[in-house]
């Protein structure tokens, strides 16, 4: 029988805009790294940023939770609105913002603490748990969402750094979701993982999309095709094409997109 459910899952639905980016520019000193980018990141959707090295995709991702604030020579201009609120407004506390807009990095970077404390750290500093029982519950829930609970539940006191690379990355994802973020930014989350750990993280990303808006930067075009519903192609600081992932990979509109995804010299 025709599987209508699968079909529906892959279909493009119009979702509410989570982050609205308008006329975005980023300079590193004199270098114009992001040029006039306009894009709407949708809620409950995985958006993939693809493009060659140095195209600006990571820079743009880092604008979404003000990670570029930590770079002295970086200047960010334009409007970035999370649920209609300007995130670069002076009244916005970047620490609070980053609890809402979580981030997972290329290299797994667990704290040199126990598995439990890695996950409990965020909820503790943001005061999300009233007591130990509350915190235990948050830690378990987060580790389950990170699809790593079954592997670590008997050794929560063991150091996070003692896990395998794939487990560490899932621990970092559990840590990122522990503060109940609304948006999860992932910068090359699988590039240091083997194919099995990659598949587990990809499966996890698909589950996370039920609750969050996920933005993933990846060099693997196949990964972008597998996990995302929307794909944005960056080239030389420009957002060249943004569209439904299926369309980008079967019939891209811009010849630069076609050259890049088919592996031609563009």
């Amino acid at each position: 029988m025709f599987d209508t459910q699968t079909h529906k899952d892959n279909a493009v639905e119009s979702k509410a805009t989570k982050i609205e980016c308008r006329d975005c520019q980023v300079y590193y000193g004199d270098t114009h790294a992001i040029k006039d980018v306009n894009v709407d990141i949708e809620d409950k959707t995985v958006t993939a940023f693809i493009g060659p090295s140095g195209c600006g995709k990571s820079t743009f991702l880092r604008c979404l939770n003000r990670m570029n604030d930590t770079i002295d020579i970086a200047r960010v201009m334009g409007s970035f609105k999370l649920d209609g609120e300007e995130i670069y407004d002076k009244r916005v506390d970047p620490v609070q913002l980053r609890a809402k807009v979580g981030m997972v990095f290329q290299k797994p970077n667990p704290f040199p603490k126990s598995i439990y404390d890695n996950v409990a750290y965020g909820p503790r500093i943001h005061g999300l748990a009233r007591n130990k029982a509350d915190l235990d519950e948050i830690v378990e829930k987060s580790l389950r969402r990170g699809a790593i609970w079954d592997e670590v539940k008997d050794r929560l006191d063991a150091p996070g750094t003692g896990l395998s690379g794939g487990q560490q990355q899932r621990l970092c994802i559990a840590r990122a979701v522990a503060t109940e973020p609304e948006v999860l930014l992932m910068d090359e989350p699988c590039s240091a993982l083997d194919p099995i750990a990659t598949a587990q993280v990809e499966e996890l990303i698909d589950e996370l999309r039920q609750r969050y808006s996920v933005v993933i930067v990846t060099h693997s075009m196949q990964q972008a095709a597998r996990v995302s519903q929307k794909t944005a192609f960056f080239h030389l600081g420009n957002l060249v094409e943004f569209g439904e992932t299926g369309q980008i990979f079967t019939n891209p509109e811009d010849p630069r997109t076609e050259s890049y995804i088919t592996g031609r010299i563009g």
Binding site: A225, T250, N251, E258, S259, T262, G263, R264, I265
Partner: protein, 237 residues
Amino acid sequence: MNTTEQHIASAFDRDLEAIQANIMKMGGLVEAAIMSSARSLETRDEELAQEVRAGDKAIDALEDLINEETARLIALRAPTAGDLRLVLSVLKVSGNLERIGDYSKNIAKRTGVLVQSPPVNDSAAALRRMAREVELMLKDALDAYIQRDAELAQDVINRDHEVDQMYNALFREFLTFMAEDPRNITSCMHLHFIAKNIERMGDHVTSIAEQVVYLVTGARPEEARPKADTTSVVTEG
């Protein structure tokens, strides 16, 4: 599509070129099979008919080869965008060509029977003209394929109309012959199947041309192709 640009992995280009070269080789064999089968019918040449029947094996073998190469390329290269559309079109076009080859073989088989009885009017010449038209359409469709020419492909799609009309005319003619003299029935039945075979070849050529439009533009041809085969609703007379 960017056909002028090379892949960074040059082996990918070589694989794609090899598959397309096999499609063109298959196309050449099929064009020859169409013309030879029609000529064997007109000139009542049993030997030529036998050659067409034997030659179908080579066409089938090429289809198998193309399917294998294509499966391998999908597995190893994960083609996307224009490359993906090319690979998909290769699979369909090779299937269409194989079917056209089968119809030619069937015409050659029926020719073996038809030469046993006297010719019916000049219908064999009319069938050869019809086959000639289909063969020209195929040639243009394959040219359009290799040159990525959607306009020429659309032209081929529009020309299928003429083949359908030739078939309609022959259908009525055979019906009349059979009504006039029951001794014509055996021959006319075979001739009618031959006409139908050629008409179906036209449909497969049209399908190839539609693949070209998809390959080049990423979209199916805008309008459904004109349907001019009206014989499915014909009653006697």
